[in-house]
């Protein structure tokens, strides 16, 4: 991961989106949203339903195009039109539904669609051994070395499945990982594990964007910066260290602090 390539003193953000606008017909989903992500940083994207956070990450991941604004990756225009463009530019996404195949094992899920194969003379025979070595490498790096590689992932726990989905996203060495509600389906202890996993990825120099509703635990405890969105634009940028869950919720709904505290 060459994160410190040329500009050593003035850090270039991995991703910089400024003043992004996006409409679906008459619905203005994004009205000048912005976000910057630096290497090694975990940015939480929070907001009420319809605030535009999903649209913003979908634009980032190439699922949606945008109408106007600047989208730069490492200081250069991003030019991302499809999800595979985003993959090539080093942006990986972990979807909320994890997009795992329950009947396949961890290795098969990690490499799905991009298996290491032999020549097409033998019908693209999968090189299982090579896949397994690479999978083990990544899982060990994530401190998941003892995860079974041969059980179907459908037989695994929610936390293990979440871990496999994250492992898949970093398999091809991205620069940015977008996680959509990574802790939503998990128990408290499994969510803790996932947060420490996400932290260790950031420590390796990746930029992390997390969409989460788990304000009081995950967002304030496990991230570095919180971008609050309301009605398609950013309304606050908070340092996670300095705020409480209540303050974040207030910024989200834009209400009076004492009223919200009373609730």
């Amino acid at each position: 991961m060459d994160m410190a390539s040329n500009n050593l003193d003035t850090r270039t953000p991995l991703i910089s989106m400024r003043n992004i606008r996006k409409s679906f017909g008459s619905l203005h989903a994004l009205q000048g949203a912005s976000i910057e992500v630096y290497p090694g940083e975990i940015v939480a994207l929070v907001g009420d339903n319809g605030a535009g956070k999903s649209t913003l990450v979908k634009v980032m991941a190439g699922v949606h195009s945008f109408d106007s604004g600047d989208y730069e990756i490492e200081g250069k225009p991003a030019n991302i039109k499809t999800p595979s463009d985003a993959n090539e530019r080093g942006i990986a996404t972990v979807y909320q539904d994890l997009a795992l195949c329950n009947n396949l094992d961890a290795v098969q899920n990690l490499f799905l669609g991009r298996e290491l194969t032999g020549s097409s003379w033998f019908g693209k025979r999968i090189n299982r051994a090579a896949c397994e070595v690479r999978a083990r490498e990544v899982l060990t790096k994530m401190r998941l070395g003892n995860l079974s590689l041969t059980r179907p992932v459908g037989a695994m726990s929610g936390g293990q499945r979440q871990n496999i989905a994250i492992a898949r996203s970093i398999l091809w060495q991205p620069k940015i990982v977008i996680l959509d509600e990574p802790t939503a389906a998990l128990s408290h202890s499994a969510a803790e594990q996932v947060s420490s996993l996400i932290r260790s990825l950031a420590d390796q120099g990746l930029g992390i964007v997390v969409v989460s509703h788990d304000i009081h635990h995950f967002v304030v405890n496990a991230t570095d910066r919180i971008e609050v969105m309301r009605l398609g634009a950013n309304v606050a940028s908070l340092k996670s260290m300095e705020v409480t869950g209540e303050m974040v919720v207030n910024a989200m709904v834009g209400g009076n602090e004492s009223v919200n505290l009373a609730g």
């Binding site: 997009a99 195949c101 799905l112 669609g113 194969t117 079974s148 389906a185």
Partner: protein, 405 residues
């Protein structure tokens, strides 16, 4: 599926533990219940008729099972991607009739007519897949309609006598050819050598990369098992006439199919699409293309089965392809795949399913025939067996708390 997962609690530390018998039953040992059932059937029929276990009868039994087995093998590819093709029996019939027409009326050589009809079968089935992908009509409906239409075309292709005799055209040799003596043993040796090559290639790759290699369970046991099974089968066949060519064709197709499903990227894509087509799409798998190949394989293989049955019955007619509506041929092919362990809901089933399922259905047919039981009873028993097989599968899931994949 996701709704179910949200309720799952994660244990604090995932640890590697030996799998329980229940878990094995839903994964590696999934064939066990069918094998036990088959063994029961064989023991039962051996007690009921002294003819059952003779070489001649067992050879017959396998020969009788090939057409349904080959059909089930093709259908499996479609079932794996969570689709169904109800026109396969009609494809079987119409391609066989077309082949006969080309040979008898237009003087085609069988060497040309046979590949043509196989290609036509593949083309018809891939047409259904295109229709399913582009229009979005469920495959159930598309292939049901297509099957009826093909039945009509089959009748139109037939001459006023409603039958093309194939005696003396060369096609009859397919069913009448037996491979005996040295040739039969050479074939078994080649088959096992190829299997060994595959196993050792996988082991070599693992060893090169420093991965653990289980010599006993991943090489010696499967190879010894295959060699033993091959030797027993060939010696039984050789006590009668030799290996029937249709059985050899079935075995070759099983080998090819097994390789495709277990070793290749295409095979893995089938399982992925069957379980979660959205995930497969997001992973960059071209779902409509893979689906089309699955249907094409099923169609081509159905045509092969059609040619074999035309050869066995020495002609084609209204009855080809199970008769109008697919008849018992269609239902038995689906039943064979399901009894063997293929899920109708996609993503589940190994290649041996076609063999085991066809053997169960063939055994019931053959055994009840020997006992002099009427055809009606045979249908009832086959139907009940289908329900029992699927129920056992469900009960295992229920009592072990493991979902089968």
């Amino acid at each position: 599926m996701t709704a179910l997962m949200t309720t799952l609690e994660a244990p604090a530390t995932p640890k590697l533990k030996r799998r329980t018998f229940g878990e094995l039953l839903t994964t590696d040992l999934r064939a066990l219940p069918v094998l036990v059932g088959l063994a029961f059937l064989w023991i039962f029929f051996t007690y009921q008729s002294e003819v059952f276990l003779t070489a001649r009868n067992l050879s017959n039994l396998l020969l009788q099972s090939t057409v349904v087995g080959i059909m089930a093998l093709g259908l499996m590819f479609v079932l794996l991607v969570k689709e169904i093709d109800l026109s396969l029996a009609a494809i079987n019939g119409v391609t066989a009739v077309l082949m006969a027409k080309l040979i008898v009326e237009f003087g085609f050589s069988p060497w040309l007519a046979i590949p043509l009809s196989i290609l036509l079968g593949a083309a018809i089935a891939s047409f259904s897949a295109r229709w399913v992908s582009f229009v979005g009509v469920p495959s159930f409906v598309v292939t049901l309609g297509l099957g009826l239409a093909l039945n009509g075309i089959q009748l139109l292709l037939l001459p006023p006598t409603a039958r093309y005799g194939l005696m003396g055209t060369g096609i009859e040799h397919i069913a009448q050819t037996y491979i005996t003596g040295l040739w039969s043993w050479t074939l078994v040796t080649i088959g096992i050598a190829l299997y060994a090559l595959l196993i050792f290639s996988n082991m070599h790759r693992r060893r090169q990369l420093g991965l653990p290699v289980a010599l006993l369970t991943s090489a010696i046991m499967p190879l010894l098992g295959a060699a033993l099974l091959g030797a027993i089968c060939v010696s039984i066949f050789n006590q009668h006439n030799g290996i029937p060519l249709p059985v050899l064709i079935f075995v070759v197709l099983l080998g090819l199919g097994g390789y495709l499903l277990k070793e290749t990227q295409f095979g893995l894509s089938l399982y992925a699409i069957g379980n979660n087509d959205e995930a497969a799409r997001r992973a960059g798998i071209k779902v409509p293309v893979i689906r089309m190949y699955a249907f094409a394989i099923a169609g081509g293989v159905a045509a092969i089965a059609g040619i074999i049955s035309a050869s066995r019955t020495l002609g084609v007619g209204v009855f080809s392809g199970g008769g109008v509506g697919g008849g018992t041929l269609l239902l038995e092919s689906i039943a064979a795949a399901v009894i063997g362990g293929v899920s109708l809901f996609g993503g589940r089933g190994a290649i041996y399913a076609a063999l085991l399922g066809a053997l169960v259905i063939g055994t019931v047919q053959n055994g009840l025939n020997l006992m002099g039981v009427e055809n009606e009873i045979r249908l009832i028993v086959t139907g009940v067996l289908l329900i029992v097989a699927v129920s056992i599968d469900k009960l295992i899931e229920k009592f072990t708390g493991q979902k089968s994949f």
